[in-house]
Symmetry: C2
Subunit: 167 residues, 2 copies
DNA sequence: ATAAAGTCTATAAATTTAATAGACTAATTA
DNA sequence: TAATTAGTCTATTAAATTTATAGACTTTAT
């Protein structure tokens, strides 16, 4: 990144490219947008993939795979044939960003040694129990997961209402 | 990720591969390890790249580029020739993980729209000011940056001492 | 002088992300 | 039961990024 600084500045100014190293993937972003959109469709009427795709500006074929994954994980359900589409299977309160992010981007952690399900030791680490770097990243991970667990679809919609009132 | 679950489970069990989507890059990890190592070398005697490389298990050629970047950013200084090497230019209190991570992995944020220096709007976003998703990720980002700013090299070493006392 | 040690340029292998294409299957309804 | 709608599955590809590796070059201490 450093070696490319000159180019990067240019990119941001002209084409607005952005580094993605620590950011969520487009897949996760699309998934979250689609879920919030489905949560906003009152009733549990199925919504067509093509409708979600148009409304949220997500490439349809890409979205198909994403929704299928969300279905396999039990968050969404679908109905085939005419009048079919996708709908929330879980309640908006049950679906939180931590789970969605983990589904598509893997563990929420800056280091493998502070993950729960994907734990991996650092080779160079002499004593993990007393590693100061790990201690910091463990704290960050715990706080992040806490905040993302609280951020369920209902909460996200509440926040939007609140923000609209302020403005 | 989901489509590969079978393989992934196998990988974790057999070869312990890990997804890296939201994790810091090896470059950043190497940089942090090298910095903590240099901070532990009392006096400001230059330490050879080869010594850091061996002690921290970092490919030497890769480390050379990393240390050079840290030098360009003003964190380290170097001395050439015999008896040369790298040493901290800033005090251990001044060097924090937020700055180091930003240097190599770019902005600390899950979405471009909650970054400061690399801000980018989401195309699909109708009203950013009232976006509930953005509101969540902004909160996460602020907390994360706060914790990482506090995590300077001195603090990391303090934590190690504290952890050693507990054990 | 010469040996030690950092610097610079270029390139390559491996992995991952993001996206596309097309055939196939299931369900509804006329 | 045929036609249509809409989700499902498999394969492939393009682009970008990460993680290195190689080798020539420059500077400095003794």
């Amino acid at each position: 990144m450093i070696a490319k600084y000159g180019i990067i500045i240019k990119k941001i100014a002209i084409k607005s490219d952005i580094f993605v190293t620590l950011m969520i993937s487009k897949k996760t972003k699309y998934a979250i947008n689609a879920l919030v959109y489905l949560a906003k469709q009152d009733e549990r009427q199925p919504t067509r993939i093509s409708d979600v795709s148009k409304a949220q500006n997500i490439p349809q074929k890409f979205l198909e795979a994403i929704l299928l994954d969300l279905k396999k994980s039990g968050i969404l359900a679908s109905k085939k044939g005419k009048g079919g589409g996708y709908y929330l299977l879980q309640s908006p309160e049950e679906v939180n960003l931590a789970d969605v992010m983990r589904l598509f981007d893997g563990p929420i952690a800056f280091l493998p040694c502070v993950t729960y399900k994907y734990y991996e030791r650092c080779e160079e680490c002499k004593d993990e129990e007393t590693c100061g770097i790990r201690d910091v990243f463990l704290q960050v991970r715990n706080k992040t997961v806490e905040l993302l667990k609280d951020a369920n679809l209902a909460e996200i919609m509440h926040r939007e209402s609140r923000l609209k009132k302020i403005l």
